[in-house]
Symmetry: C2
């Protein structure tokens, strides 16, 4: 896993990925006590950065292998990113999702052109179903984060951040990235190391699911005690990846942790000041910039809004905060 793979992914993504802008608001600067620069990957195709990794992995396959199709396990952003990237490549995608996933997510993934295979979480094994389907149809599994070409694709966002920070005159700053398994964070960290060494990666996670922050502190992979029960569903992974953690250990500063209600408040600020729709897991980095100022150094901070795929009911809860 190295910077050359990220640069190669950027070439493959060119003309297909959306280069998201770097935006800001004086109102957010005032709350944070420093200049806050936001990289809104919620504006990426399918509403999250996951399209980058999906496109990168699919475009890196040998044409004959690619033509047989790909498979992914996901009920969320990774599924949509892979489904859309596969459709644009003109190849079949199979997405294995739990039968109790939200109806809208299942319908969206189908509408993006994927075949959705549902399984019963209680009685069936996802990996077994996936392995059988992959073998039967010659499908290639696209893992959500612990996969070099996926990390390379997510890292292209870091190349954009490096160039945009340079254009804005930012030489040193923390770059806070919403972190689940660490694919997005580690890809961006590698890109910054090569292109903008004055920018330091920081991870942001929801309280109770701060496996990466604890792992960074302990110097070894630590697991979360629980697997669910937080609105930041997109970034609830049991532990950092075997590929991603060593990269983060080498390059990331101390992990930042925010409460669920702070993620909702950050969503409300993104609505009011940036006109952007963030999902809870996509808002934790902004929440860290706004509400953990004392854990951040320097006159500038850069944050990702990693995704915007949020149910209307959850978004309403975030808006309720504005009335208080």
């Amino acid at each position: 896993m190295n910077i050359e793979m990220i640069r190669a992914a950027q070439e493959r993504l060119s003309g297909h990925v959306r280069e998201t802008p770097l935006v800001s608001s004086p109102f957010l600067d005032e709350i944070a006590g420093r200049r806050v620069w936001i990289k809104p990957e919620c504006l990426q195709h399918t509403g999250s950065f996951k399209f980058r990794g999906g496109w990168s992995a699919i475009s890196a396959l040998h044409p004959e292998v690619r033509a047989r199709g790909v498979i992914a396990y996901s009920s969320g952003n990774h599924a949509q990113g892979v489904a859309r990237a596969a459709a644009l490549h003109g190849i079949p995608a199979t997405i294995v999702m739990p039968a109790d996933a939200p109806r809208l997510k299942i319908e969206n993934t189908r509408a993006l052109g994927a075949e959705v295979v549902l399984y019963d979480r209680a009685t069936e094994d996802r990996d077994e179903i996936g392995a059988r389907l992959a073998k039967e149809h010659g499908l290639t599994l696209i893992k959500p984060f612990d996969e070099p070409q996926v990390i390379a694709g997510q890292g292209t966002c870091g190349l954009e951040i490096a160039a945009q920070a340079r254009a804005a005159g930012i030489e040193t700053a923390d770059v806070i990235v919403c972190c689940g398994g660490g694919g997005f964070a580690s890809g961006i960290a590698l890109a910054l190391e090569a292109e903008a060494p004055g920018l330091r990666l920081r991870t942001a996670e929801p309280e109770g699911f701060e496996d990466v922050a604890r792992s960074l502190e302990a110097g070894r992979i630590c697991r979360n005690a629980t697997a669910s029960g937080n609105l930041c569903d997109a970034i609830l992974t049991p532990q950092p990846g075997d590929l991603t953690f060593p990269i983060l250990q080498r390059l990331a500063g101390p992990g930042l942790v925010v409460r669920e209600d702070e993620a909702l408040r950050a969503m409300a600020h993104a609505f009011l000041r940036l006109k952007l729709v963030a999902e809870p897991g996509g808002a934790v980095a902004l929440a860290a910039a706004l509400f953990r100022s004392d854990e951040i150094d320097g006159p500038d901070v850069i944050v990702t809004i990693s995704g915007g795929n949020v149910d209307p009911d959850v978004f309403r809860r975030a808006l309720d905060d504005l009335d208080a």
Copy 2:
């Protein structure tokens, strides 16, 4: 009023304006029956295209005149655009607003650095107050649309659309623009005429306030019967401007008209598919693309989302539509 003024405004705006991207979603394409390209000016500084005109007008003033400050009458997007552009120029801005304007808008305009002068709509005359303040302090009035340098600033959005359409391979298409007094629409129309003659401007307005559509059809300026009573408050002007109407008459296709509930539905689609916050008046062009397909020609259509400054309560109403 000509293309050279728009090009000069673009030079003055360079490095200060946000170049908003051109985005799309396969879900919206399916509803519209053609490819829909969205220019989200809700992502512009202060949440609407109005920052372009404010910056253009202020930057065009003689430095000595500019240093004395500017004044604007507005309770909305124009006020915020002028206030922010003035603050970034380091000059004072006075905004004359009705005392019954929403508290949040008054606070925002103050927070952007402007002095807000409130007046009583029932007993005081806005123009008289403004003229007195302008004379006393040597302030320059920045009109919201019927002012060449404001039209030139809004037209810079049209230069961006022309370049982005070319990059996307779009040669002929309707460009639907949310239309109040016509500053945004006429500026874009002039830019397209010069830079992308295959792109034709269309205006979009809310039903009951379709003064521009009726004026275009009649070949003379027509007024609206009523002045308020629609959620699309940002684009409720009594009639097209004396400067803007002749430009639209020469360059625009037939005006498009949508219902208020269709504007709300377009906001819901922007939330769900684009992760963008649109205000009702900023969503009428998207509504026209989605719900007036039979009045539009060709495989592509380009629409502006002109602003995103919407109260949470109104946004909730738009989200309610998704549950139905």
